[in-house]
C-alpha cells in the first residue's frame, strides 16, 4: 500500500531526527509538522516519531495506529475546540495551560484538563517508546538507584502503580529540577504538569492502550512495556529536566 509505505518512511525519518534533536522536535507543540493539515487551533497532532509497528515487542501496530491517529487526534481536536473562542489563551504553551487550570475560564477548564492533559500525556508517551528496552545508564541509572531502590525495584513499583490505577489513567515517573525521581499514578488524563511538575516517563493504562492484544490482562501489558522503552530518549528528558528545558 503506497500510502502506508509513504507514511512509514515519514515516521522513520522523523524517528531519525528525534534522536538528534529530541527536545525541540517533541516539545515544540505550537509548531505544525510540514505534512499536517492546516491547524484549526493552536495545537497540532505531532506525527508518531516511528512506524506503527516500531513497538511490536509490546504494542501491536493496529493499536498504535488507532491510539495515535484517533485517540490522540481527538484530544488535540477537542483541545482546539475548547480554546477556539478564547484567543487570549492561544499564545500559552501547553504546559502553562495545564499548570494554570484554575485560572482558566470555568467553562473550558474541564475540557482543557481532559484534552490538554491527553495531548501532553500522549506526546510524552510516544517520545519515551520506540526503543528496545534494556537498562538506563549513567546519571539516570544513578538517580533510579538513589530514589527508586534500583532498576529492578523501580520496575516492580512502577508496574504496581500502573496495574492498580483503577479505571482509566497513567503511571508516571516524575522528575524535579534537582533530578529527584518519584512514582505517581493519576486518573484519566491528569498529569504532573497540572501541579507544575514534570513527567520523566509515563505509561498509559487506559484500556484502549492495550485491549486489542491483552484484553483484561493489564499486568501483562505493563510488564511487556519495558521492551519498547527508549532509554536514550528518557535520558535526554532527564537531562532536559535538570536543565529546566523539559516542557511536556
Amino acid at each position: 500500500m503506497p500510502a502506508t509505505a509513504a507514511r512509514r518512511a515519514l515516521f522513520l525519518g522523523a524517528g531519525a531526527a528525534l534522536t538528534l534533536a529530541l527536545p525541540r522536535r517533541v516539545f515544540a507543540q505550537a509548531a505544525a509538522p510540514a505534512s499536517a493539515p492546516p491547524p484549526s487551533g493552536p495545537f497540532t497532532l505531532p506525527p508518531l516519531p516511528y512506524a506503527n509497528d516500531a513497538n511490536e515487542a509490546a504494542i501491536d501496530a493496529r493499536t498504535m495506529q488507532i491510539h495515535h491517529d484517533l485517540h490522540h487526534a481527538a484530544y488535540v481536536n477537542n483541545l482546539n475546540a475548547a480554546l477556539r473562542e478564547h484567543s487570549q489563551l492561544h499564545a500559552l504553551k501547553l504546559e502553562d495551560l495545564l499548570a494554570k487550570l484554575g485560572e482558566l475560564p470555568e467553562g473550558i477548564r474541564a475540557a482543557v484538563r481532559n484534552n490538554g492533559g491527553g495531548h501532553a500525556n500522549h506526546t510524552m508517551f510516544w517520545g519515551v517508546m520506540g526503543g528496545r528496552g534494556g537498562q538506563p545508564s549513567g546519571e539516570l541509572l544513578a538517580a533510579i538507584d538513589r530514589d527508586l531502590g534500583g532498576f529492578d525495584q523501580f520496575r516492580t513499583r512502577f508496574e504496581q502503580a500502573a496495574n492498580t490505577q483503577f479505571g482509566s489513567g497513567w503511571a508516571f515517573v516524575t522528575v524535579t529540577r534537582e533530578g529527584r525521581l518519584a512514582i505517581q499514578q493519576k486518573p484519566n488524563q491528569d498529569t504532573p504538569l497540572m501541579e507544575g511538575g514534570r513527567a520523566l516517563l509515563g505509561n498509559d493504562v487506559w484500556e484502549h492502550a492495550y485491549y486489542l492484544r491483552y484484553q483484561n490482562r493489564r499486568p501483562e501489558y505493563t510488564r511487556a512495556w519495558w521492551n519498547v522503552v527508549n532509554w536514550d530518549s528518557v535520558a535526554q528528558r532527564y537531562a532536559a529536566a535538570k536543565a529546566g528545558t523539559l516542557t511536556i
Partner: protein
C-alpha cells in the same frame, strides 16, 4: 456467604447480531465482572463487610468518600454489571416501550427521543471509565445521570438505577474501537430490553440478592 458471579441471562453469542460479539461478552462477564467479584470477596473480612447486602455495602462505601473507594471500586462494579446484563437481551431494541415506562419517560424526560439523547450525552461525556444511568430520583421522578469508575447512583445517593450502560472501554473496544457514541446508539436502539426496564421501574429498582 460470599458474593458470586451470576450467570449471564443469555448465551455469550446471543447478542452478536446486535453489536455485542461473543468475545466481548466472554471477556466482560467471565473476566472483568468475575475479577470484581473475586476482589470484593477478598475484602469481606479485612473491611468488615460480613452479613451486609451488596446494596448496603455500595451505599456505605459511597458515603465514606476516598476511604471507601477500595470497597466501592469492587462492590460498585459487581452491582453495576449485574444490572447491565439484565437490561440487555436478544429480544432487546426497538422503540416500542411498555405503556407504564413510556408514559413515565414522556412525563419526566420529555419523551423517548429526548431521553435517548440525554442518556447518550451522559455516556459520551463521562470522561474516562464509568457509567450512564436512568434512575428513579428520591422525588420519584426519572432522571439521567452518570458516574465515574465503579461508582453508581446508589453510592452517590442520587437514586435507584433502572437502566445502566457501561462506558469503560472494555465494554465496547472490540466492537466499536474508539467510537463510544456508536456503541451508545447501538445499546439504546438494539440491546436494551425495555420490558426489563419497566419491571425494574415497577419494583423500584434492582435487588441484587447478593450479600457478604
Amino acid at each position: 456467604m460470599a458474593f458470586s458471579l451470576p450467570p449471564l441471562p443469555y448465551s455469550t453469542n446471543a447478542l452478536a447480531g446486535q453489536g455485542m460479539c461473543q468475545e466481548t461478552l466472554e471477556l466482560h462477564h467471565g473476566k472483568h465482572h468475575n475479577a470484581y467479584v473475586v476482589a470484593l470477596n477478598g475484602l469481606i473480612e479485612s473491611k468488615g463487610l460480613q452479613g451486609k447486602s451488596l446494596e448496603t455495602i455500595v451505599a456505605e462505601a459511597g458515603k465514606a468518600g476516598a476511604d471507601g473507594l477500595p470497597v466501592l471500586n469492587q462492590a460498585g462494579q459487581h452491582w453495576n454489571h449485574i444490572l447491565f446484563w439484565q437490561v440487555m437481551s436478544p429480544k432487546g431494541g426497538g422503540d416500542k416501550l411498555p405503556g407504564g415506562l413510556a408514559a413515565k419517560i414522556d412525563q419526566d424526560l420529555g419523551g423517548l427521543a429526548q431521553f435517548k439523547e440525554a442518556f447518550k450525552q451522559a455516556g459520551v461525556t463521562q470522561f474516562g471509565s464509568g457509567w450512564a444511568w436512568l434512575i428513579i430520583a428520591p422525588d420519584g421522578k426519572l432522571k439521567v445521570t452518570k458516574t465515574p469508575n465503579g461508582a453508581n447512583p446508589i453510592s452517590t445517593g442520587e437514586g435507584t438505577p433502572i437502566l445502566g450502560v457501561d462506558v469503560w472501554e472494555h465494554a465496547y473496544y472490540l466492537d466499536f474501537r474508539n467510537v463510544r457514541p456508536n456503541y451508545l446508539d447501538n445499546f439504546l436502539n438494539k440491546l436494551v430490553d425495555w420490558e426489563v426496564v419497566e419491571t425494574l421501574l415497577k419494583q423500584g429498582g434492582l435487588k441484587s440478592e447478593q450479600s457478604a
